[in-house]
């Protein structure tokens, strides 16, 4: 029992450290890839190819004055970024990140999942939904009209994508017959042919679209679109509080990448000669790149267009998909 607690604490600390470091690195990757696609150089001055830009940005964020506007609701203003960052990491608790492995030189078997609950998917989706309280509260707590618009857009976004996420995942869940992400992984263990993406292509596309909406990525970055609402919910934030929103956002992007990889693309099963651990990292890296690629290539859409898209196009498609899946499974 004691060993279990200690192992859990170590796992949680490791995930926290690695993912937030990756989130910091993600900002650099994002700038580099956007620059590459738009034929610019991106950050070049700090270190070789600008790699040390992350350190410079980190120092800047940590040492910047933590400014709270006088009209703001202080406590809520201070708590909001923590909600975003914390829920992003709590969601990762139910995601199996790598295949089981034994520690070198010992015979301890490590399962790289903090808590293997039998409703993994539901928990992750619910936690990421709760994460939207961060932008919502942040926008309402600062006395700033851009903030209010940002949080109104958060509510719109939440009410739009949540239904699509749930319905799009329902069809794969029906096929696997379990809500545990590990069961999804074992279901696709017999090679590329058994990946759920081949039998559920519609669900895959719907999940990706709603995943983009969930992580505020372009084309759904309504909450903080600079051209329209200054910075939306983050207008009054500076320093590390602003940084926490971004760590949360990038952690969510990584979580969506893991979910898409595990549910639709065979998870951490070994792929041809690539071992499972490397395979899932490659898949998640691909999804991360896809998000940046879409950001560079697509304009963003209006809030009412998002609602139109989610309720009038994606939701009927998802329901049809569930119906067809049900008929195929029964007949």
């Amino acid at each position: 029992m004691d060993g279990y607690i200690i192992a859990t604490i170590i796992k949680a600390a490791l995930i926290l450290g690695v993912i937030s470091a990756l989130a910091g690195f993600g900002t650099f990757i994002e700038r580099k890839i956007l620059a590459f696609i738009q034929r610019r150089l991106g950050p070049m001055h700090v270190g070789p190819y600008g790699v040390l830009q992350i350190a410079a940005d980190g120092i800047k964020l940590f040492t910047k004055e933590d400014f709270i506007p006088s009209g703001a609701n202080k406590i809520v203003f201070m708590v909001a970024p923590i909600i975003t960052a914390a829920t992003a990491f709590i969601a990762l608790a139910a995601v199996p990140l790598l295949p089981e492995f034994t520690l070198p030189f010992t015979d301890i078997v490590v399962r790289p999942i903090v808590s293997d609950m039998n409703i993994g998917i539901l928990f992750v989706i619910a936690m990421m939904g709760v994460g939207l309280y961060g932008p919502l509260l942040a926008g309402m707590a600062q006395e700033n009209k851009w903030g209010i618009i940002g949080s109104a857009r958060t509510a719109i976004q939440f009410l739009s994508y949540e239904v699509v996420t749930g319905l799009s995942l329902l069809a794969p869940i029906m096929m696997v017959g379990s809500l545990s992400l590990i069961d999804f992984n074992t279901y696709q263990a017999s090679g590329v042919g058994s990946w759920i993406i081949w039998s559920q292509p519609v669900a895959f596309v719907l999940f990706l679209i709603s995943g983009f909406a969930e992580t505020n990525r372009t084309p759904f970055d309504l909450l903080e679109n600079e051209a329209e609402v200054i910075s939306g919910y983050a207008t009054e934030y500076s320093g590390m509080r602003w940084g926490m929103f971004f760590i949360g956002e990038y952690a969510n992007m990584i979580t969506i990448g893991f979910l898409a990889a595990i549910i639709f693309l065979g998870g951490f099963n070994p792929l041809w000669i690539i071992p499972g651990g490397l395979a899932i990292i490659l898949k998640v890296a691909f999804f991360f790149f896809l998000m940046l690629w879409v950001r560079a290539a697509w304009p963003h859409i209006r809030p009412d267009q998002l609602m139109w898209l989610c309720w009038k196009v994606l939701m009927p498609l998802a329901v049809l998909n569930i119906l067809v899946t049900g008929i195929v499974m029964m007949v």
Partner: protein, 186 residues
Amino acid sequence: MEAIAFYIFGVLIVGLFLVTILSRDILYSMSALAAGMVMISGLFFILGADFLGAVQLVVYSGAIMALYAFGMMFFDATREVKEKHGSGLLVFILSGASALIMVIIFAAPAIGNKIEPLVQATKGVDNPHAIGEVLFTKYLIPFEVAAVMLLVAMIAGIILASKKMDESLSEVYVGADPETEKKEQV
């Protein structure tokens, strides 16, 4: 282990809901309500009812998000709300009676010995499966009735909101001429 977690969650839940009802700041009240609902799901997880815990998270985070939207429309979130206090006696009687009823409801099963569970918990079946089995065998009719009720509510909502559904919202307000607006107000 479980006792420690239970007391942590218990204190947090009671504290948060106290903030909900005692605070005059709309933002504090709603945030405390949302946080309290999330903490309640923690109790479900401790009891091993994972599915109900996740449902609690999904349903209440969504429902309270809609509440926030209303709060945003009707109140200035950074100001305190002025509450009207009516008859003190009425408030006392109503709150006292509801508190008493709650205590009786939760104390009765603990004291009485005539109460036994309708469905025994089965060992070795995980939570979602157990709930599904009970819902679709023993409680099929209440479940379906609830589903039909939700469907009716959904259709009613669509009818209420469907007046200008064919047009984009932004076009409705930019393009509307004053004449038709007046007619609608009448």
